[in-house]
Symmetry: C2
Subunit: 205 residues, 2 copies
């Protein structure tokens, strides 16, 4: 079983998602605008945004990202593209909890602006299920990127520790070698002193 099966994302769901794309497009400027307006309430998020480009550029990226999310196609390119964007967010230090709440904000906007146009309740439910699934997949891709980044940090730490261990061992060996050498040299010198001592004794006698 993979995660797509775990969340029961089916071909029918993807067809529904694709069928929503045009309506999503109509509301995207508003949805993306509201999204960044909401972020303005959190100074720590605004700081991250301002340190990493302009709001206008990010709005354009989000616009494209959301539009592609409703393409109804999930292939390697789709996953990879999402992965790259997730990695950027890991690198700029956005905590995953903020990422998740941001996605929830976008999901709610889509429900309010797009899904609410459906007046048949069964159809409404099918659409809700499909959209929550595609958002959940998005979350999973993001989290996998975060996990891999954490794993990378762990591996770097591990490699550094290994290097240090080697350094400690190397120093200890050097210490032992020097002790050995000086001890031999001292012994040699002591022998020489002994010999000289014996010699002077003989000379005196």
């Amino acid at each position: 079983m993979n995660q797509v099966e775990m969340i029961h994302l089916s071909i029918e769901d993807l067809c529904i998602i694709r069928s929503l794309q045009e309506q999503v497009k109509e509301h995207l400027t508003q949805i993306v605008g509201n999204f960044y307006k909401n972020l303005e309430n959190e100074p720590s998020l605004m700081k991250i945004i301002k340190d990493n480009g302009s709001v206008d550029r990010l709005k354009k990226t989000l616009h494209r990202h959301m539009f592609e999310m409703f393409s109804g196609t999930i292939d390697d390119a789709y996953i990879k593209q999402r992965y790259i964007i997730a990695q950027v967010h890991v690198r700029i230090g956005l905590q995953p909890k903020w990422y998740m709440s941001a996605l929830q904000d976008l999901l709610q906007s889509l429900i309010i602006h797009v899904i609410s146009n459906i007046k048949n309740i069964e159809q409404y439910q099918d659409n809700i299920l499909a959209v929550t699934k595609i958002f959940n997949l998005e979350q999973q891709i993001v989290l996998e990127a975060y996990e891999l980044e954490n794993e990378k940090i762990r591996q770097t730490d591990l490699a550094e520790k290994e290097t240090m261990k080697l350094q400690v061992n190397h120093n200890a060996e050097e210490l032992a070698a020097i002790s050995q050498e000086t001890s031999s040299a001292t012994q040699l010198m002591a022998n020489k002193v002994g010999e000289i001592h014996d010699f002077t004794q003989r000379v005196r006698d």
Copy 2:
């Protein structure tokens, strides 16, 4: 702004959630049963489950957890309890992406078995929004637990590296001290040899 504000979780949402609790209770045995049936398709998850207790015990825990999720109260005790359960999942090595897909599976069951009973479309939408919000909050608590656990691992690694650095420095200092000592001792001995040499010279002369 906190994350509750970010996802627009309001008192009205909590009232809706509370109003669903009785209906949720009626379907919980079925929902929890389906949930674990779904997990059976993933051997890696079944192994984690079997290594950490019986399915029956976990079903009871999930049953209680879901029921409390619809209490309509979010206080410190609620957050703390969720936090503890999240930490258990971090410790048993469940990847966050599986946790997220598991929550999606439960959300879908709730939509299909509980929300679908609502026949008024506006009311239906209010309920959907409230339920997705409480699920999103659940995800955020889980992710914060994962992040803190990762941070703890990073701190432990950092402390180990510090200890090693101290060890490396200590060895280097010891090496320097021994070199210094042996060099002094050798010098002393060389002086003595010189003196003896002079003395024997004088004796000879």
